[in-house]
Amino acid sequence: MRSFKHTFIFRLMLLLIIPMLSCNKGSDFGEQSTDASNYIPAKGVFIISEGNFTWGNGIVSFYNFNTHAIANDIFYAVNKRPLGDVPISMQQMNNLIYIVVNNSGKIEAVSPFDFTSVKTITGMTSPRFIQQINANKAYVSDLRSPVINILNLQTNTITGQINTIKSTDRMLLYNNLVFVCNWSQYYVHQNNNTVQVINTNTDKLIDSIVVGKEPNSMVLDKNNKLWVLCSGGYYNEEIPSLICINPNTHSVEKTLLFANKYLSPTSLDINTTKDTLYCVSNDIYKMSINETAIPSIPFIKKGTRLFYSLAVSPSTNEIFISDAIDYTQNGFVFRYNSNGNVLDSVRAGITPSWFSFN
């Protein structure tokens, strides 16, 4: 009986001590990824997956054109910390890669050799996209404040702002002009149906061109015509449109309307020879720049997929299309050739949305 008592108490104590021994003081206590690989430079494409708002689960992946394999979460793999909340775009400028992390209000500058963090650039409200102007200067658009921030590429600091009155989004450089989409009116309550023109020598807003509601993407074709895709608005207020602008005169030359209000097209891109346009509008559409109407038959049908974003590889002319599935699980990226045949597919992160070709 006595020995029973003792072993019993001993076991009782053990019961409590064992979990105590497993305490993880000082070790990793943040969110861990089981799908992270190191970045090895190669010919390929960087894919940004936005993740979920406030969850801090957006990632950068790299799809290697030679091995056809994807390395996910390459920032976390080497830096052992999250990239931030809602990474949205990236640019390779001078000898660094800049990743804009929208809801963290920062730009992470990383090494193009191994993705190690070089600098975290802050001082912006809600950065969206970067447009390099020259070796010393880049513009950073902003969702929640009516400005474009000026990034000094030598010091990697924000050195100034251009007042734009409206929220700013996608940008495109043409000679000494930057064309800026005014995509959102959610935080800055101004009409979001314009493309603004900024003189990069003076950093001043010089003009504004009225387009459709919610201009969300732009490309320049082989004839130096600027194509702007407008979704029609958050609440489908207008029929979506594809608008062709002469960037020299700032005048609208052509307006092609979509079939109905509810198509919400996005992700306008152009092929290598700059004569064929692609966009996502539930399905994938493809059209020549000489077309006079939006094609009624899709180029690639979505089936049960949820196409979110596309980009055309400037080197291979292949089309990369993302399937966000349900916006909460890791999405897919499909690679298609220009005939619309699928070549392969890989799994990236949650909501793959941005492609940067290397």
């Binding site: 029973f4 072993t7 019993f8 108490i9 076991r11 009782l12 053990l14 019961l15 409590l16 064992i18 979990p19 105590m20 497993s22 305490c23 993880n24 003081k25 000082g26 070790s27 990793d28 206590f29 943040g30 969110e31 861990q32 990824s33 089981t34 799908d35 406030t54 969850w55 801090g56 996910n72 830096n79 910390r81 999250p82 909340d85 809801n103 963290s104 209000g105 920062k106 190690t116 975290t120 409200t125 959610y186 958050y234 919400s264 539930n282 049960t304 997929r305 949820l306 399937d323 966000a324 599935i325 349900d326 916006y327 909460t328 699980q329 890791n330 897919f332 799994r347 949650i350 909501t351």
Partner: protein
């Protein structure tokens, strides 16, 4: 960690086996005729009064996290805390206050950080289908809190809490009796700056700078008034009114650009309940009438949101219990409920009417076999809902009934919440109820005679299949989130618990421990690339364990709480997870007399090993912190 849990199970079983042998040898066999326990066959966990007393100034979320098998998902002290049973969601955990459901009809869940233990006298959990005895909807189970009349004639008690991070709590309880009437008043005021230091592991490579948590402050005022009347031998009346105001700032995850003071929430509620009980030799009739009012104001400056939501709920409930014989007992009842929501997030005033009819029979079939059958039929807005039958059996394996085998099988469903139906934009008025089928089988051991060592232990395997699980997803254009009956979930696992009191004079040991294994998996593919099939639901740990050991010596006591939470996946693809953590709290206290008045002091050291952890990704939690409690019993002698 798996090794640890395995070891724990081994220790459990060893202890049990040894003790059982002991029982066989020592216990003389005696058969006594007992009155039929109406709650036999149910899976129930009671929180003992000592645990309640030790955690009197805590919130129910903290108490349940360290003393029950329920998984508490918390944003930290003062922040939203929800409960999940058996791998189901927060809306599948019903919270009943004195038998009336207090989950918000809008969100379908209860924020456990708003329930002060000080306002609760009794806590029990009904697991899975057992929750059907009160109402439908508890696919995971129910948490039942109630108030009981104080035994003393009159009393006055004052508790003051002083804690780290400028946390203060003042609690007063006063009761008196006039003739057949008894009044009890409780007041509570809790406030905290909650500005704890934490290591920020999200912003710098290679280092974790220490920062101070901002915008986590909260304030809570509350009153609970109870009036009890013993009209005569057969008739009793209870009136309860509970008023509370909760104000809190909402802190941001540390991956987000700081926006100081951006989000805040003000919750106010009034809950009133009148209960009439008529008891006879063979019957018990209970009639309850409740009116609940909830007000919620959420503000988000940057997004220009100022949302005001008001809910009025009126519920009537009647229950008649009849004892046919020592072996058979009937119960019939009905309830009617009306919810009205006025929300700036709905297009207009929304109303829902619900009606329920239920009947059950408890019977002792043989000396060792007890059975329980329950039938329930409900109507919502004049639509007939599926019929809900459930069956429970309890079979005593030994003559002394110390070991019994229990099983239960039931159908249940959970109605869409009013937000699921009417939220603008996104709400889906065509949603179907979430359908659940549950089965469980368990083994229970209970020491039948007062002995030096008293043990209660239960081991249960559960199985729950939920169809039409409501899932909020962004619409295809990613503009707003919208719910649909998309998911199928199969949740199964093991619940094991042991509760033990060991009198080794002059010491008394009390041990409570729970280990839960939960495998809650998505079933099926919704679209072609969907890879969530067979994956664990997010924020449901596979392994969780907690234990408390209390040692009493004269007027002194010392307690250890150990609380382990296993890895939790954070995305539905199961490629990201939050690592496990173990928290240890130490509590020491004593009571003494000061000028003829009883005084008790208690010091708690929470997270004594100063573990850095996050329960939810990028929501930091406090390290080691302290709490001093002084309790004055000012009752005049």
């Amino acid at each position: 960690m798996f090794f640890h849990t395995l070891l724990l199970i081994l220790i459990f079983t060893k202890v049990n086996a040894q003790h059982l042998k002991d029982t066989f040898q020592l216990n003389s066999i005696s058969i006594t005729s007992e009155r039929l326990d109406p709650q036999h066959s149910l899976k129930k966990t009671n929180i003992d009064s000592i645990t309640i007393a030790e955690n009197i100034s805590s919130t129910l979320s903290d108490l349940l996290a360290s003393h029950s098998p329920v998984f508490i998902k918390t944003y930290g002290q003062g922040g939203l805390a929800t409960a999940s049973f058996r791998g189901t969601g927060a809306t599948h955990t019903l919270v009943n206050w004195n038998g009336m459901e207090i989950n918000s009809p809008m969100i379908g869940q209860q924020d456990f950080s708003m329930l002060n233990v000080f306002f609760i006298d009794n806590i029990n959990l009904l697991h899975g289908g057992s929750s059907l005895v009160n109402s439908s909807g508890g696919l995971g189970g129910s948490i039942n809190i109630s108030n009981i009349k104080d035994k003393e004639k009159s009393h006055l008690e004052y508790i003051q809490e002083l804690g780290s991070f400028s946390t203060y709590g003042s609690f007063v309880k006063a009761g008196f009796k006039i003739g057949k009437w008894y009044s009890d008043t409780r007041l509570a005021f809790v406030t905290s700056a909650n500005d704890f230091p934490f290591k920020n592991n999200a912003i710098e490579t290679g280092s974790y700078p220490t920062q101070t948590r901002e915008d986590a402050n909260y304030k809570q005022y509350s009153v609970l008034q109870e009036i009890y009347g013993e009209l005569n031998k057969h008739n009793e009346i209870a009136i309860r009114v509970w008023l509370q105001d909760n104000n809190r700032a909402i802190p941001q995850p540390i991956v987000v650009q700081p926006l100081p003071g951006n989000e805040a929430q003000d919750n106010r509620f009034a809950r009133s309940l009148v209960e009439w009980k008529n008891t006879g030799d063979k019957h018990k009739l209970k009639v309850k009438l409740a009116w609940f009012y909830d007000y919620l104001n959420y503000t988000n400056k940057i997004a220009a949101i100022n949302s005001v939501n008001k809910v009025n709920s009126l519920t009537g409930n009647i229950n008649y219990n009849y004892i046919l014989s020592e072996k058979v007992m009937f119960n019939v009842g009905s309830s009617i409920e009306d919810n009205r929501v006025n929300s700036s997030n709905y297009s207009d005033l929304k109303e829902r009417k619900q009606f329920a009819l239920f009947a059950s029979i408890n019977a002792q079939i043989t000396k060792r076999l007890l059975s329980f059958i329950m039938l329930r039929q409900e109507l919502t807005d004049n639509n007939l809902l599926p019929f809900l039958p459930s069956l429970g059996l309890e079979y005593a394996l030994l003559k002394d009934k110390s070991i019994s085998l229990k099983t239960q099988i039931s159908k249940n469903y959970h109605q869409p919440t009013l937000n699921d139906l009417y939220w603008y934009p996104g709400g889906n008025p065509n949603l179907l109820p979430e359908q659940g089928f549950s089965a469980e089988v368990g083994l229970k051991y209970e020491t039948k005679k007062e002995r030096k060592l008293n043990i209660t232990s239960e081991l249960t395997y559960f199985f729950t299949n939920i169809n039409n699980w409501i899932l909020w997803q962004p619409d295809p254009l990613y503009r707003y989130w919208s719910p649909s009956n998309l998911k199928k979930v199969l949740s199964q696992g093991i619940e094991s618990s042991i509760s033990l009191i060991y009198n080794l004079k002059p010491l008394t040991f009390r041990l409570n421990a729970n280990y839960t294994y939960t495998s809650a998996h998505n079933q099926g593919q919704i679209t072609i690339n969907d890879n969530t099939d067979g994956k664990q639901l997010i924020y449901i740990p596979e392994h969780s364990f907690n234990s408390s050991l209390r040692t009493e010596w004269k007027t002194y006591y010392l307690s250890f709480y150990v609380h382990y939470t296993g890895n939790r996946f954070t995305n539905t693809s199961n490629t990201r997870y939050m690592p496990y953590y173990t928290l240890t709290d130490v509590i020491a206290g004593r009571s003494f007399k000061f000028k003829e008045k009883k005084v008790a002091i208690q010091l708690s050291i929470n997270n004594i090993f100063d573990i850095d952890y996050q329960a939810i990704a990028w929501q930091p939690m406090p390290g080691r912190n302290y709490q001093l409690l002084i309790r004055f019993d000012l009752t005049s002698k």
